[in-house]
């Protein structure tokens, strides 16, 4: 049913063909990273906040059974209808059944990476339900029939000219008018009509509070609220790891989230939904979809602490120069690369390798997930379980033989230096990945071993004189 997955490195290679655009993409995301730094440095206790957030999330993961039951009990008391979905398919069916029960064919949806993970839009579209994404970035990529390329900035891979063309085609904006103000205004008018006419609104969940049974949704645009407060039915979908114990813990997370994401002190709206409006309905769908399995993987468990700020993507040198679509997963970048193999190891075996292991992701993570360590650990697991590409396995085995045998190593070195010197075309070609975007270095005259054989003895003698 699904198209064959094209590996990260292949898509990244295509992305890198347009050098100017890649540079622009790289700089744009780095700009966001710098805004994050500026915001973080203004809080003297930033590191303590991160540590506290990390500890709260560790507590949640160690006691999540109790918190989930507590959350459910309180949500029910608040008049909310609670659903449980073991996997993506069940989640989609639940959402569809709620829509069907209300006899409508249309729904407005604010940002929810979980519904991307579950491919809800495709599912509903097959059932004849028209879904409109109301976050501007999501609406743009939806009109272009693309997935979001970033969890916070869904259309970050597009230039304003691209948006202008898309809006010209779908919303009838002036051709060639690339003014972001003008384009945003067009989307505002188009989506206002959507908000006013939809009976069912779906949102994601940033935080769910066990103590009170309420959920918190953070947006800058106000699109989640516009949808929900004008609809008869609010459906909120959440992975179970969104839980936090008490309301006061929001103080920690709301201080960290927007600063880490975009460098804002807080999102424009941080809405706390506790009860439905009089006579209206509110549903919460609690989704597992592999999370309970990840909870059992000790090395990867704490990836579930993620609060989806996207800081690890903005800082990642590989993400910035390969683009979100190259990760073929709802959540891209470093965090996506440690979440995805849990969902499907063979499909996502390439992702933990799409990293330099530089550790920048770990350094900016507001809940202190050891992302780069987990990337490294996933590599061990994937290779052990036979998910590494054949070419890489052969190359690694070949390398192991060479490195284990001094004579072979010596010979290989000599052959290499001879080739680089006398027949450079052997290495200076596109088949050699080291030659991509860089010149090969001049070959050394001799290896270190050869040099040491000559000079090592001499200097030893000198010292003994």
């Amino acid at each position: 049913m699904k198209a064959k997955i094209i590996e990260h490195s292949e898509v990244a290679a295509i992305f890198n063909k347009d050098v100017k655009r890649v540079d622009w993409h790289d700089e744009t995301l780095w700009f966001v990273r710098e805004k994050r730094d500026k915001a973080a440095f203004q809080i003297p206790e930033w590191e303590l906040l991160r540590e506290t957030a990390s500890k709260i999330k560790n507590n949640v993961l160690s006691n999540i059974h109790k918190y989930l039951v507590e959350f459910e009990t309180n949500a029910l008391k608040n008049g909310v209808i609670v659903h449980w979905a073991a996997d993506a398919d069940e989640h989609n069916k639940i959402v569809h059944s709620i829509i069907e029960n209300h006899g409508v064919k249309q729904m407005v949806k604010s940002k929810s990476m979980l519904t991307e993970e579950c491919h809800l839009n495709e599912y509903l579209s097959e059932k004849g339900i028209d879904v409109i994404d109301s976050d501007l970035g999501e609406r743009i990529v939806q009109l272009r029939k693309e997935p979001p390329s970033h969890i916070v900035l869904p259309a970050i891979h597009l230039k304003k000219e691209d948006v202008s063309e898309t809006f010209h085609e779908h919303l009838g904006t002036e051709k060639g008018n690339n003014d972001p103000q003008y384009l945003t205004e067009a989307a505002r008018m188009h989506l206002r009509d959507t908000f006013l006419t939809r009976k069912v609104a779906l949102t994601g969940v940033n935080f769910a509070i066990a103590e009170t049974g309420e959920i918190v949704v953070c947006t800058n645009e106000g699109n989640a609220d516009m949808g929900v407060h004008l609809a008869d039915v609010h459906i909120a979908c959440m992975g179970f790891e969104k839980l936090i114990p008490q309301r006061k813990h929001l103080g920690v997370f709301l201080r960290l989230l927007a600063r880490s994401a975009t460098g804002q002190p807080i999102t424009t709206f941080s809405s706390h939904f506790k009860t439905p409006r009089d006579g209206k309905e509110m549903h919460i769908v609690i989704v597992d979809n592999g999370r309970s399995t990840q909870l059992g993987r000790e090395d990867f468990r704490n990836s579930l602490k993620c609060i989806r700020c996207g800081a690890c993507m903005n800082t990642c040198p590989v993400y910035r120069r390969s683009g979100g679509h190259s990760y073929h997963n709802a959540v891209a970048g470093p965090i996506g690369s440690i979440l995805a193999p849990n969902l499907d190891m063979s499909k996502n075996a390439d992702l933990p390798f799409a990293s330099t292991l530089c550790g920048s992701c770990t350094n900016v993570c507001p809940v202190k997930i050891d992302i780069h360590d987990q990337l490294y650990k996933w590599r061990q697991v994937l290779v052990k379980e036979g998910h590494s590409p054949t070419a890489k396995t052969i190359a690694m085995k070949g390398m192991a033989t060479v490195l284990a045998n001094p004579m072979v190593f010596d010979l290989a070195g000599k052959a290499g230096r001879f080739a680089m010197k006398n027949i450079p075309a052997v290495v200076n070609n596109s088949l050699n990945p080291w030659y991509k975007q860089r010149e090969m270095p001049a070959p050394p005259e001799e290896s270190f071993r050869e040099w040491y054989k000559k000079n090592g003895k001499e200097s030893k003698d000198k010292r003994h004189e």
Binding site: I43, S62, V69, M226, V228, G251
Partner: protein, 195 residues
């Protein structure tokens, strides 16, 4: 077995065997700074405006001068009923579509991010602060706290069905990271800082 039971059972089995401690929050948010100055600076930094006023009459004057007459204005503040209507709280929320300006009074504000806390009790209707073209929120200067930690201390066990922190006007930077004010919610936010 229901999915609920399956999920909970699997979680029980897979979660760590011992519960880790919850951290104390008492040491957070104790930094001392000028609360009002910080509030003003941060608000301007995120595209909002502030006006310092002595009383509601000053607000009425300001609104008359700065917002177009003849457009629909709504409020939940009785003192402002001269300039804005109060008979909209039980109507179909869709009928608020043509509101130009909503005026409400926040429970309190937060200096570090300029957010204002509003709940059902003062919103009239939940959509009232999202649907208008422009938004104005009144807050007493003495009701501004330093950080989000004090904010949640203040909320404590407040009863509400819906509550939201509003920080600045609705905005987006989804087109090439260019900041545009007025995405779906209010295009502008004026905060009246009252003595």
């Amino acid at each position: 077995m229901s999915s609920r039971a399956t999920i909970l059972e699997k979680i029980q089995f897979n979660q760590p065997s011992s519960v880790t401690e919850l951290p104390e929050l008492d040491t957070l948010g104790l930094e001392v700074f000028n609360i009002l100055d910080t509030y003003k600076t941060v608000l301007q930094g995120i595209g909002g405006h502030f006006v310092e006023v002595k009383d509601y009459d000053a607000i009425i004057d300001f609104v008359k001068k700065n917002y177009p007459a003849g457009k629909r204005m709504i409020t939940t503040i009785p003192e402002l009923s001269k300039i804005a209507t109060m008979n909209w709280m039980n109507v179909d929320p869709h009928l608020l579509e043509n509101v130009e300006l909503t005026l409400v009074k926040a429970h309190f504000g937060v200096a570090e991010n300029s957010a204002l806390w509003v709940t059902d009790a003062i919103l009239g209707q939940r959509v009232s602060v999202f649907i208008p073209q422009y938004l104005a929120i009144v807050v007493n200067k003495k009701d501004i706290v330093a950080t989000m930690h004090q904010a949640y201390e203040r909320i404590e066990n407040q009863v509400y069905g819906f509550g939201t922190f509003i920080a600045g006007p609705s905005k987006t930077a989804d087109i090439e990271q260019s900041l545009v004010l007025g995405a779906h919610g209010a295009r502008g936010l004026t905060v009246f800082l009252m003595e």
